[in-house]
């Protein structure tokens, strides 16, 4: 069984795409409306990337694919991504 991690582990990968540290960014789950910092989301290894799930309802917030050449972030389950000023 693969055990999940949490959003803290995505600080490095997401720094390749976003200017600010994303572990302190908040997002609202499109399924259940839960609002939390990315650090608290549940992160499942889905090589070559990760599936990020809501801590409250378990639905997919985002999918990240990281290969040697490119990075793709699918934000299908996140609304209102917010970074502290």
């Amino acid at each position: 069984m693969t055990s999940h991690l949490d959003g803290n582990a995505l600080a490095g990968p997401l720094s390749e795409l976003f200017r600010d540290d994303m572990t302190i960014a908040t997002g609202r789950c499109a399924h259940c409306g839960d609002v939390s910092v990315l650090a608290q989301a549940l992160v499942y290894d889905a090589a070559p990337g990760w599936a990020v799930r809501c801590r409250a309802c378990g639905e997919v917030l985002m999918v990240i694919v990281r290969t040697g050449e490119r990075m793709m972030v699918d934000l299908r389950g996140v609304t209102a991504l917010e970074v502290p000023a």
């Binding site: 991690l5 949490d6 803290n8 600080a11 490095g12 990968p13 720094s15 572990t23 040697g68």
Partner: protein, 240 residues
Amino acid sequence: MSFRDWLVGTVVSTQSQTPTAKSIVLEVPGFGGSSAGQHIDVRLSAPDGYAAVRAYSLASTGPSSTIEITVDLIPDGEVSPYLVHELQEGDELELRGPLGRWFVWKPEVTAPVQLVAGGSGIVPLLAMVRAHAAAASTVQFKLLYSVRTPRDMFYASEFAALASPTFEVTYVYTRETPEGWPTPAGRVSRELLESATIPPSESPAVFVCGPTGFVESVASWLVELGHSAETVKTERFGGA
């Protein structure tokens, strides 16, 4: 240099913490220092271009470009066997950081602090204890540290040396206790958390780090005991 750039560190020294865990001190030109609780990504690249990246918590803290991580061996892992068994003084290692600004303690925060560590989850919490000592902070710090056996403990002598009126450690042995230990081996429980940690009435900042199952049990018990979920910060490193 930014935290997102890959840097090259040189191993200054290594030290065994347990039969399967090693501390690695690196000098990293361009590293901009770190806050207590942050981590780095380490990248190992094969000649064919394949790269494996893993996150490791920093045991070190402060403005220095000399950093320390402690790596516990995952026998079938892609990165930790190399770091624990092969890496030697003078070797170079690719890394980026410091990373993560959420699971962080800063000396200017005045709330008391409760740390709860399972196994190698102690590493970022050690950085917080070091930052507390370095700042001569008078904030109350308590650590609950769960290990399987006395031989699995990281930084035992440093924790003993840092004990003070404002820093107290409670050890929990889950499989084997030291000789003469007053209680039998056993896991952290809700009852133990209630008796051995700072109560919710004192509004502590709580940091929990360890294997995923440990972190989730501890965090939910703390909330049941009356801690606000916002004050309980967690970091999971996977594992059993």
